[in-house]
Amino acid sequence: MTDSKKIRVLLAQFPLETHTKGMITVAGMLRDAGMEVVLLGNALPAVIARAAVQEDVDVVGISSYCGGELVLGEKLLALAREEGIRQDVVFILGGIFPPDNAAGLMKLGFAATFPPSAKAEEIVGGIKKALAAKSAG
């Protein structure tokens, strides 16, 4: 990914998620920061994985408030690999989850997690850092 290209982000939620405020807020933050946002909304992990490949995004962002993030996160990453997603695509997750699950999500392969109070600069900075780390590694 080169600097001249806009960062493309797919924002989605797991199928039964009821809360949408986080996703709407983050979509606004990323657009303000000059990124392109594809807002998928609620979808099965398989649908999110396929959309990430088809939309050729650089980042997949999941908003999760209702729990189950470890089970569903693992499934999403596995399905994304099956779909043949680019190696340098970054997965992030934000919302409400038990703090110790953050480490579990990172272990699964998420590049960053964010609490509900995360500021725009933290999320935008976190994404850029994760993308840089991926392209360097």
């Binding site: 039964l16 979509a27 609620n42 209702c66 729990g67 089970v71 038990p98 703090p99």
Partner: protein, 586 residues
């Protein structure tokens, strides 16, 4: 929906100020004014004079400007009997009952937590054992969204944020050994469709236990705003269909379960989603008005319909605004019921409400601070005269409440009730120059916002065309900007934030994967043993009811009796009614 005239226009025609008796006499006002002018000029500093009004910026606040000090001059024509009177008297500003909490304390209704039906049964018994006076049953996200525990969409989320309910059998486990004929149970079915699906399972559970429906007390939410606006989902039916189901539910429950509150107009989740305290109320009132109009159209009497209508509000941190809001909406609902609908039964004019403290005001950085926030939000609810209360837990920003934090919420209520003495005197802030002025201003603002909705064709229309979605999105964006810029100050989050916030030692609720397997096994056994012909027959009848304007709730009761599962009923609704694409927020 609102044929011809808006509520504001009707009130303008019907309310006359002929009997108004101003409290202050002109000579006194004149003297006060003279004194005020002198004080303003000679005693008040120039900077304060120039910044006489300040606009508070707050999480989910209404941004109503406040003066430096209030006095009789803020409200010179103040009419005590017309605008306040005594508690239990029209216009009910000071409270619904003459003796308020001296007669009956507020219902302490803490949410039940998350986990398998067996676990929730224990948790309910724990809360009741510690003095809770009502049940507040939170459903897991699959149940809220009307999916069975064994559908692919439910993977990983069975038993998160509430209890899973697939069939009437699960209700039997949840309420085992709980005296359902004596306790009032709030079943937090957000949407009309899941009210029509889940509440019949409660009724069938009662039937199987031999408890007559006449003895059941409690409430459901049954609010189409929740289904079509507030929630995210992978599947929707149209606002028009949702609204119709909302009214079908009311019709059936009103006739057959007479002590049940068949609709709880839910401002709470809309506000927490992202809107001001006045918009939350304007939307709920607009829905209440539309509902009563529809029931009148179906041939019911206004008092038959309105007597058990209830509201659910979010109470945030702007203390006086929150107290004033409850007083304002109580008066406004009375005015609507009295003058727009000509209600005769006092109960029909009562704005009865459940309050939950604001989850959105709580922080993750130093969660113990949330105990303080929730406690004074709860006090505002009591000073505002609510009927029942849930106090949010300090671990809200981490997970669903642990047993410990849930008990702390209950203890907060008990401390206010037994120790603060705030419940001894009815409407203790009534008569405050400030609170009365704020109450008037908020009432006017709610009425203005209600008028705008009605001008646009009514509540179903503004949801269907996406106007309300956009209003909410704009509010969310504006709030986020104010938070980022530090104009809204939140202690420990963006104001006096610790340089290195330490993660606290709190025992948060973890998702137990065993619950999912347990529920899937139970469903497999249920599908084996039930009468398959009955399942097919009752589901077909439900689809027929959907298509032919039959009462869908009655059809769902038959489904529940035949052990039809939640997901099966959901699919019958969508098969018959079709789906709807929600308008985008962006």
């Amino acid at each position: 929906m609102t044929e011809g005239k808006t509520t504001r226009q009707i009130l303008q025609e019907k309310e006359t100020s002929g009997n108004s008796v101003p409290l202050y006499n002109p000579a006194a006002l004149e003297k006060i004014k003279k004194d005020f002018d002198g004080w303003l000029k000679e005693t008040v500093a120039t900077a304060d004079r120039e910044n006489w009004t300040a606009t508070p910026h707050n999480i989910l606040g209404s941004e109503l400007p406040r003066e430096l000090i209030y006095s009789p001059l803020s409200n010179p024509g103040f009419d005590y009997l017309g605008r306040l009177a005594f508690s239990g008297q029209e216009p009910y500003t000071r409270g619904l009952h003459p003796n308020m909490y001296r007669g009956r304390t507020f219902t302490m209704r803490q949410l039940s937590g998350a986990g398998a039906p067996e676990y929730i049964n224990q948790r309910l018994k724990m809360l009741l054992g510690h003095g809770a006076t009502g049940i507040n049953l939170a459903l897991d996200v699959a149940t809220v969204q009307m999916f069975d525990s064994d559908e692919p969409e439910a993977l990983g989320q069975v038993g998160t944020v509430g209890v899973p309910i697939d069939s009437a059998d699960d209700m039997a486990v949840i309420f085992k050994e709980i005296p359902i004929d004596k306790i009032s149970a709030s079943i937090v079915t957000h949407y009309p469709r899941n009210t029509a699906i889940v509440f019949p399972m409660y009724l069938v559970m009662a039937e199987r236990r031999g408890v007559p429906w006449e003895k059941l007390a409690g409430s459901v939410q049954n609010d189409f705003i929740m289904e079509n606006l507030v929630r995210g989902a992978c599947e929707y039916i149209s606002p028009k269909d949702s609204f119709r189901i909302q009214c079908d539910n009311i019709e059936f429950i009103r006739e057959r379960v007479p002590r049940w509150n068949y609709v709880t107009l839910n401002g709470y989740n809309l506000r927490e989603f992202g809107t001001s305290g006045t918009t939350e109320m304007a939307v709920a009132l607009a829905n209440g008005i539309a509902t009563i109009e529809e029931m009148l159209r179906r041939g019911h009497d206004v008092d038959f319909v309105a007597a058990r209508l209830a509201f659910f509000w979010s109470l945030g941190s702007d203390f006086f605004e929150e107290v004033a809001r409850l007083r304002a909406v109580r008066r406004l609902w009375y005015r609507i019921m009295k003058h727009r609908f000509g209600a005769k039964n006092p109960r029909s004019m009562w704005m009865r409400c459940h309050v939950q403290t604001s989850g959105g005001s709580l922080t993750r950085e130093e969660p113990m601070n949330n105990i303080v926030r929730s406690a004074y939000q709860a006090l505002a609810a009591i000073l505002g005269g609510c009927q029942s209360l849930h106090v949010d837990s300090y671990d809200e920003a981490y997970s669903v409440p642990s047993e410990e934090s849930s008990l702390l919420g209950l203890r907060t209520q008990q401390i206010i009730e037994a120790e603060s003495q705030a419940t001894q005197v009815v409407d203790p802030l009534g008569g405050s120059f400030y609170v009365e002025k704020l109450t008037d201003e908020i009432e006017e603002k709610i009425l203005n916002e209600l008028d705008e909705i009605e001008q646009r064709g009514g509540i179903v229309e503004v949801v269907a065309d996406g106007w309300l979605h956009k209003k909410v999105a704009a509010y969310i964006e504006a709030q986020q900007k104010q938070l980022d810029e530090g104009r809204i100050k939140v202690v420990d989050r963006n104001y006096h934030r610790a340089a290195d916030p330490k993660m606290p030692e709190i025992a948060v609720h973890h998702y137990d994967e065993a619950t999912g397997q347990q529920m899937r096994d139970k469903l497999a056994a249920l599908r084996q043993r039930r009468n398959k012909n009955q399942v097919i027959k009752t589901l077909e009848a439900l689809k027929q009811a959907c298509r032919n304007d039959g009462n869908v709730f009655a059809a769902c009761v038959d489904c529940a009796r035949a052990d039809v599962t939640e997901g099966e009923m959901r699919r019958a609704f969508t098969d018959a009614m079709g789906t709807w694409s929600a308008p985008g927020y962006m």
